[in-house]
Amino acid sequence: MKYAMETAVLAIVLLFAASILVVLSTGEHEWAGADDQAEDVIKEMTGSEYEPWTTPVYEPPSGEIESLFFSLQAAIGALVIGFFFGYYYRGRQTNT
């Protein structure tokens, strides 16, 4: 089959999406970052609140600005991947 691998990857992604739908429909979840949960676990394990001894040099002022930086990160990466794959495909066409 020509697109066997593409199909397999698509199936995995769909399965993943379906699993999220199932979880969504089975009660309340916070969907918070796993990093924040680490804080709770530390408290639970050591029995005392842990005070971070230093704070981030810069914190995005809002959730929107934070997502801006995350999107920027993804955009830069996607641009590089797209550019070089295009470059490679073109090179293959002219070589052969």
Partner: protein, 231 residues
């Protein structure tokens, strides 16, 4: 997910910086050789770095009801080895620590170790082992990338457990608690990451297999076989 700023006691921060430093230094040395002798592989290095950029920016929901992100380091590790990949990891972690308050500068050493070194070393070992044993290349890539992602979070759990042993039960109990949070969330994400990276690997073979041969990732015979099987 990375260990947050200030969330490791200073002694542990220093410890992980010292552990990570040799890998970074050796990676820079390897990178210089690569830049001098295999310039045609540099676009591929950019793609490997870009993969870490994209995948580690995608915070995905998971079956545990919380979110986490893949690491994307498997591709770089397979193509260029774990030391060069540790530099890619360092760049991304610096970006996230400075602009996003995600991870942190004090915990940079620990995070570079889990994401940039431990995961990639495992991916690289699995890939080399799988190739030697003659296993299906794409399946090997899938497992290498998946387990690298998962292992990153196992190592993060170990790092946190070492710094925060439980009152009752010590490090082991603490590790189980951290791993329950991270590893369970990460499992589905790492499978997706493995699948995407395996597919990317196929496309790289399609367009520029000769660079993979030059990097020592595949042999000529293996390329012929993979291309013959049908793209």
């Amino acid at each position: 997910m990375h260990i947050m700023e200030g969330f490791l006691p200073p002694a542990w921060c220093l410890f992980w910086f010292l552990v990570s430093a040799p890998f970074i230094v050796y990676g820079m040395y390897q990178l210089r050789i690569l830049m001098r002798e295999k310039r045609e592989a540099l676009p591929l290095l950019a793609v490997a770095g870009a993969f870490v950029f994209v995948l580690s920016s995608l915070k995905l929901p998971s079956v545990s009801g919380s979110c986490s992100h893949p690491t994307g380091t498997g591709l770089g590790a397979i193509l260029f080895g774990p030391c060069i990949t540790s530099i890619l990891g360092l760049i991304v972690l610096l970006y996230q620590a400075i602009f996003l308050a995600h991870g942190g500068l004090s915990t940079l050493g620990a995070n570079v170790f889990s994401m940039g070194i431990a995961g990639p070393v495992l991916a690289w070992a699995i890939y080399k082992g799988g190739q030697k044993a003659g296993l299906n290349t794409y399946l090997t890539v899938f497992f290498a990338a998946t387990l690298a992602d998962l292992f990153t979070y196992v190592v993060t759990s170990v790092q946190l457990a070492l710094a925060f042993p439980a009152e009752v039960g010590g490090i082991a109990t603490s590790f189980a608690a951290f791993a329950a949070v991270f590893a369970v969330t990460q499992l589905p994400l790492s499978i997706i990451e493995g699948a995407v990276i395996a597919l990317t690997f196929k496309y790289i073979i399609d367009v520029r297999a000769e660079i993979l041969v030059k990097l020592g990732v595949l042999t000529d015979a293996a390329v012929g076989r993979l291309r013959g099987v049908g793209a």
